[in-house]
């Protein structure tokens, strides 16, 4: 399933936070919170302020109405007092004078519509309008008032006629001596419009009410007439009345609803005027304001968010544009440049810096492409050289043998090749160099060259390994080495020799003895100089199958090939089927998982053995023992870097002459030694190509001097034996010349070809062979032995 992509190519799971989104969330949330908190604070402040304002207005109304009531009461009482001061003395009870005086008092009669009276200090009614009588229970008030001698107002009572709360106002009339003769009494209905009725209906709001209470907590004025003169709830009013407090506050209203209350005491009477306003009414404005504010905040928050989004976009659009272009630049031609329409901020600096980086990147890329092309070309050359080396062998593979290397795009250091040796011998090489690319490729070249040059001479595997090890050790820097597997199959005697140096186990499967592993018992070549190899040799029969591979194969199939793809049917299936299985498996798995390393493998099936042993053709190997005595032997070893052979020869010849060597033999010996020593030094140690002489002996000598100067080690051993018959003259001179070089393929040297050649080189051996007898070489080809007979 394809992975989902996040913006700007970020894969899922990568934490991504857009700068614009972060700005929006940060400032948007802050703004929204500020609006909400601000709205709440404003609403709360407005609520409190309107509460105070309403409370203040309520207190003012209460104060004004109480003051007006005080004024009314004082006016009414003052009018009585004024009339009382003009009252004639000596009015008799029930007399016409008293009644007439009362009748003439139109002012107080109009004010006290419920009645005016003249009452004695003992409460006796002296005069009154016909049909009226002093309310019951007011005699005590008159008597009490007589004791004080002051005008006064009675406690409210329910009028028998109107049922409304009414009071008596009394003003004393005194004689000349100051004694109270009588009282002028006025009865007034508290609800009378001219008295307190109109004042009690004042309202601050629809639900606001005024309540007048007397000192006993009875309701004197109230909207609900049925509650008049009813005692109020002491829980609501008692504490306030008893404390005598004035002021405003909140308390439970009727029904227990929160109510705003303002209380004012009247000055003229011990009454209390209270104004009430339910909080629901008092907070109506604040409630409406809060609701409007909520709507406003609700509308402002999205608007603020929208504004924040637009602002954040405005602030980050350059950055976003730059980001997208930079992202695009990664997948486009680096020649393109980033361009912003309005890069008038820091992004402009970023664009300049990025474009500068792109320019430098383009330069680097061009350099890299050139280097890559050069590297590819070098690799192609290396691959070509490698193929030229191994192809001849691989194309000559017998049908029972299969070897191949599946290379990745770049050389990874694998190589394999095959070479048929002298009749009945087959040699194989698998190698895997450390590293990759050109270095790995060239690491295999000296090994393959050494292998191919030695196979034709049937050089033992030990010598091959030593030579390859020596070359790799000399040529490659420390840390570079070559894992290799050398195979030698001898069909003459039915033996298989394997030298494994660092490669996976090679597996031999024989029909009778099962499987045998050839594990690595040697260091890879190039690590240690002078390493002595371990070789395993086993007898094999026709049909036995050997399987070997490099580590790339096991890496591809899994360590140790757990599924056994390599070994499936090793014993049972035909060779061609087995080979196809391995090829198809490697191709399939490499195609599926990708090939990371070269894959080299070999599958050999032992063909029928040869019937008879075949000797090497032509030239001999080894020395024939002589029957003569070796009366004198000279062994001389020298390093050509310090001693030239031509400087040593006169002394050697002279020494031998002193020992009885004839002049003629000496002359022949000198020529033969000159050739043998020149070969040992020039070709054996210095590795000079004889064909260089075609370019002139000057060039050859110059190169020879150069190689000689760079020769770190290497020596030539000269051994000369003078053989005589017992007590007889010298019969023959036996010469051995050996160098420490890798030797040469003496089997490939043909005297007929050398003699017929017109090349300016290659005649040294021809001369030695002509001048001596029994010219032989050792197996490695770095030692020559010949005999010069006495003339």
């Amino acid at each position: 399933m394809a992975a989902k992509e996040r913006p700007w190519g970020l894969p899922m799971g990568t934490r991504f936070a857009s700068i614009q989104l972060r700005i929006f969330l940060t400032f948007g949330a802050t703004l929204a919170l500020a609006l909400a908190v601000g709205g709440w604070a404003v609403a709360r402040y407005f609520n409190r302020m309107t509460g105070h304002l309403i409370q203040s207005q309520q207190a003012g109304l209460t104060r004004m109405v109480a003051s007006a009531m005080d004024g009314k009461i004082s006016t009414y009482l003052g009018s009585l007092e004024a009339e009382a001061r003009g009252c004639p003395r000596g009015l008799e009870a029930g007399g016409p004078a008293a009644l007439r005086w009362l009748e003439d008092r139109r002012v107080i009669r109009s004010m006290f519509e419920d009645g005016t009276y003249l009452v004695g200090p003992d409460g006796q009614l002296l005069a009154g309008r016909p049909g009226t009588r002093l309310p019951d229970g007011q005699t005590t008030f008159i008597k009490g008032l007589a004791g004080t001698g002051k005008p006064g107002i009675s406690e409210p009572y329910r009028s028998a006629t109107s049922g409304n709360p009414s009071v008596l106002m009394a003003a004393p009339v005194r004689d000349e001596e100051g004694r109270i003769q009588l009282f002028v009494i006025g009865v007034i209905d508290l609800l009378h419009d001219d008295f307190l009725g109109t004042l009690s209906s004042q309202q601050m709001a629809d639900a606001s009410r005024l309540t007048l209470l007397d000192a006993n907590g009875r309701i004197l004025l109230h909207e609900d007439r049925s509650r008049l003169l009813e005692r109020t709830d002491p829980r609501r009013w008692g504490l306030l009345l008893q404390a005598g407090t004035e002021g405003a506050g909140e308390g439970p209203g009727i029904g227990g609803n929160p109510t705003q209350i303002s209380v004012r005491r009247l000055q003229s009477v011990p009454w209390v005027l209270a104004a009430t306003l339910p909080q629901s009414e008092a907070g109506l404005i604040a409630h409406r304001f809060r609701r409007y504010l909520q709507w406003a905040v609700a509308a402002a928050v999205p608007l603020a968010l929208l504004l924040t989004w637009a602002l954040s976009h405005r602030l980050t659009e350059n950055l976003e544009d730059l980001t997208r272009q930079v992202e695009g630049a990664a997948s486009k031609d680096p020649g393109q440049r980033v361009h912003l329409r309005k890069a008038n901020d820091e992004t402009g600096l970023l664009v300049d810096a990025f474009n500068g980086l792109l320019a430098r990147l383009e330069d680097k890329r061009a350099t890299l492409i050139k280097a890559q092309a050069r590297s590819d070309e070098e690799l192609a050359v290396a691959r070509h050289v490698l193929q030229r080396l191994v192809e001849p062998g691989l194309t000559a593979l017998p049908p029972q043998f299969h070897m191949e290397t599946l290379q990745v795009a770049r050389i990874n250091g694998d190589a394999c090749t095959y070479q048929e040796g002298p009749a009945g011998l087959h040699f194989g090489l698998l190698c895997d160099a450390t590293g990759h690319g050109l270095t790995a490729g060239i690491s295999t070249l000296p090994a393959i060259q050494a292998f191919l040059s030695m196979v034709a001479r049937d050089v033992p595997l030990e010598t091959m390994y030593r030579e390859i090890n020596q070359r790799i050790h000399q040529l490659m820097p420390v840390g570079r080495f070559l894992c290799l597997l050398l195979i030698r199959l001898d069909l003459r005697n039915g033996t298989l020799s394997v030298l494994n140096a660092g490669l996976p186990d090679a597996i031999l499967c024989t029909p009778d003895e099962g499987r045998r592993r050839f594990m690595s018992r040697n260091l890879p070549a190039g690590i240690l100089a002078g390493e002595e190899p371990v070789i395993e040799t086993v007898a094999v029969a026709p049909g036995a199958r050997l399987l070997a591979c490099t580590d790339g194969v096991l890496d591809l199939l899994g360590t140790a090939d757990p599924d056994g793809w390599l070994l499936k049917g090793l014993e049972t299936v035909p060779l061609a089927t087995h080979r196809s299985t391995i090829q198809e498996t490697l191709t399939r798995i490499a195609g599926k998982h990708g090939q990371r390393d070269d894959l080299s493998w070999a599958l050999w099936e032992v063909p029928p053995l040869l019937c008879a042993r075949i000797e090497p053709p032509g030239r001999t190997l080894g020395f024939v023992p002589s029957e003569l005595d070796e009366g004198f032997r000279l062994d001389l070893t020298f390093q050509p870097r310090h001693h030239a052979a031509r400087d040593l020869l006169p002394d050697v010849i002279r020494l031998l002459s002193d020992r009885g060597l004839g002049a003629r033999e000496g002359q022949i010996l000198a020529l033969a030694l000159t050739e043998a020593l020149a070969n040992a030094v020039d070709h054996g140690l210095l590795g000079l190509d004889p064909d260089l002489k075609r370019q002139g002996f000057e060039a050859y000598e110059a190169l020879r001097r150069l190689h000689l100067a760079g020769l770190q080690k290497g020596s030539v051993r000269l051994s000369i034996g003078l053989r005589t018959r017992p007590s007889g003259p010298i019969q023959e001179v036996v010469i051995e010349v050996e160098d420490t070089g890798p030797g040469f393929d003496w089997r490939a040297w043909d005297p007929e070809v050398a003699g017929a050649s017109t090349a300016p080189s290659g005649r040294g051996l021809l001369l030695i062979r002509a001048l001596s007898k029994g010219m032989t070489f050792n197996e490695a080809g770095n030692q020559i032995r010949f005999t010069i007979p006495s003339v």
């Binding site: 022949i668 020529l671 002489k693 002996f697 017929a756 090349a759 300016p760 290659g762 005649r763 001369l767």
Partner: protein, 103 residues
Amino acid sequence: MTFAIRNDPQPGLLHLEGTFTFDGHATFRDATALLLEAGGFPAIILDLSGVAYMDSAALGMLLLLREKAAAKGLKVALRRPSLPVAGILKVVQFGKLFDIRES
């Protein structure tokens, strides 16, 4: 024994003396180069009667001279080789490549 080359009044004739080995290549090169430049004779004749012996390097020099001379349309002839040298020339079958005469 040193190696030397002596010119002869006869155009194209050189007398070689001493041991003709690798060490004598510079002397041989210089002497033969003069002859090749001068020209005016049908063949370069090398008198080997004074050469005690020669090695394979000397044989190579003779072959190089043969190539250069052929390029200029000249032949190379070897005259009066000493016994050892004659043996060497016979071994390497130079008779097929050079006109070798005992006199």
